[in-house]
């Protein structure tokens, strides 16, 4: 054991332990940690984008290089804050509708290609067990999500039932992987506590 004397490590350890008090029960220390995290994360986001993106766009591009059209973007962005002034709150809908509409256009322009590749890569030659299993699985899972065909129909119902099995296997595999993922995150924190802070196993 060789406990750290670095204030940074101590801060980290205290933060971690404060969060883990939640496991005993909901308590003021945990709520304090959660509050501080939320506050820091929100502010960091704001400060980082301001200095690396917004400020350069305004100062360097719009003013510096005289690309006036950047101002329009800035004004558009600022319009969202009209929502806090009831009499002109409706103006805030304009930037929102621009973002939503624009994003929608992009989804419809680019996502179908990805989706089509998912379809065409299911055009498998049914000459191996793997291919047959994938082929059956995709079709039956898709059948499970047909809502206008009656599941009482034995053919549709039967295929959908197979689809349900595939879905359960997929979800089971999601669960197994999720358990390990969550524990991995804890291992990383335990590393900090055990090796950085307590200095276990160090000379």
């Amino acid at each position: 054991m060789n406990i750290s004397t670095d204030p940074a490590i101590w801060t980290q350890a205290i933060c971690i332990l404060a969060v883990y008090t939640y496991l005993y029960k909901d308590n003021p220390i945990w709520r304090l940690a959660e509050t501080v995290y939320l506050a820091l994360a929100t502010t960091y986001w704001f400060v980082f984008y301001f200095f690396t993106y917004i400020q350069p766009a305004i100062v360097d591009k719009a003013i510096g290089e005289g690309e006036w059209h950047y101002f329009l973007a800035v004004i558009l962005g600022l319009m969202i804050f009209f929502r806090y002034i009831p009499s002109v709150a409706w103006l805030a809908r304009y930037p929102m509708s621009f973002w939503v509409g624009y994003g929608t256009g992009y989804i419809l322009s680019f996502e179908p290609a990805v989706w089509l590749t998912q379809i065409t890569s299911t055009f498998l030659a049914l000459n191996s067990i793997q291919n047959i299993l994938i082929f059956i699985g995709v079709l039956s899972t898709l059948t499970y999500f047909f809502f206008t065909l009656a599941k009482e129909n034995p053919v549709v119902g039967g295929v959908a039932e197979v689809g349900k099995w595939y879905i359960m296997i997929a979800l089971g595999s999601a669960f197994g992987n999720t358990v390990l993922y969550r524990w991995n995150l804890f291992v990383a924190r335990a590393n900090t506590l055990l090796f950085d802070w307590l200095g276990v196993g160090q000379a």
Binding site: Q12, V19, Y70, G101, T104, G105, L142, M168, G172
Partner: protein, 209 residues
């Protein structure tokens, strides 16, 4: 102009994007080149909305002395204190980064690692083979759990092969592809509803929260 205006902007902006990406002429004109920057910059500015929203919500909590308002005071103090530091030092400043490295990322990571404990007790207390579906799910979950950790191979040398190549690579791939194909259609449908003016939920979100 209050209802129709935003609707027109929504439909027009998505049509411009579609035209520029699908039509040869649209691509040549490059209509979206400049709009893209507008989107990125205006969107970046609007991300400050989270900051402002949080301020307003918690300011109200403090005013009304709502249960737990002390935390709201702390939240506001930390937010504005850190902001002040950020303005003075910028994001690369030593104290600003120190707080970032030693408090913020650590807190974030610790909060998410809590789930390791919660998921394990949930697995024990709630995962019951009460239905046929749940039984298949649990059997697969255990099989994959042991296949993804080296212990599976230690028990039976082919465990990770069957787990990775067959369960994950074949059965799981097929199941997820079926789900994905449907989910993409769902996403297109929502996008088309917006484009056709059938969906207005995004315009309803005005006024203070």
């Amino acid at each position: 102009m209050r209802k129709e205006g935003p609707m027109i902007v929504t439909v027009l902006s998505s049509l411009v994007v579609l035209f520029s990406n699908y039509f040869f002429l649209g691509q040549q004109w490059g209509l979206t080149d400049r709009l893209d920057y507008w989107f990125n910059i205006s969107y970046g500015i609007a991300l400050a909305l989270g900051f402002v929203n949080l301020t307003i919500i918690h300011w109200k909590y403090v005013q009304r002395r709502r249960e737990g308002w002390v935390y709201s005071v702390i939240l506001l103090l930390v937010m504005y204190g850190y902001l002040l530091l950020g303005i003075v030092e910028q994001h690369t400043g030593p104290t600003f980064s120190w707080i970032y490295d030693n408090m913020m990322t650590v807190l974030g990571a610790a909060v998410f690692s809590l789930l390791a404990f919660l998921i394990s007790s949930a697995a024990y207390r709630a995962f019951r083979i009460r239905t046929k579906e749940a039984t298949i799910l649990l059997v697969c979950a255990i099989f994959i759990l042991l296949a993804r950790a080296p212990i599976g191979d230690a028990i039976w040398s082919r465990w990770s092969y069957w787990g990775n190549e067959w369960f994950m690579g074949v059965l799981n791939t097929a199941g997820y592809r079926g789900i994905l194909l449907g989910a993409y259609v769902g996403a297109f449908a929502v996008a088309l509803r917006i484009l056709l003016g059938l969906e207005r939920a995004h315009l309803g979100g005005t006024g203070t929260q």
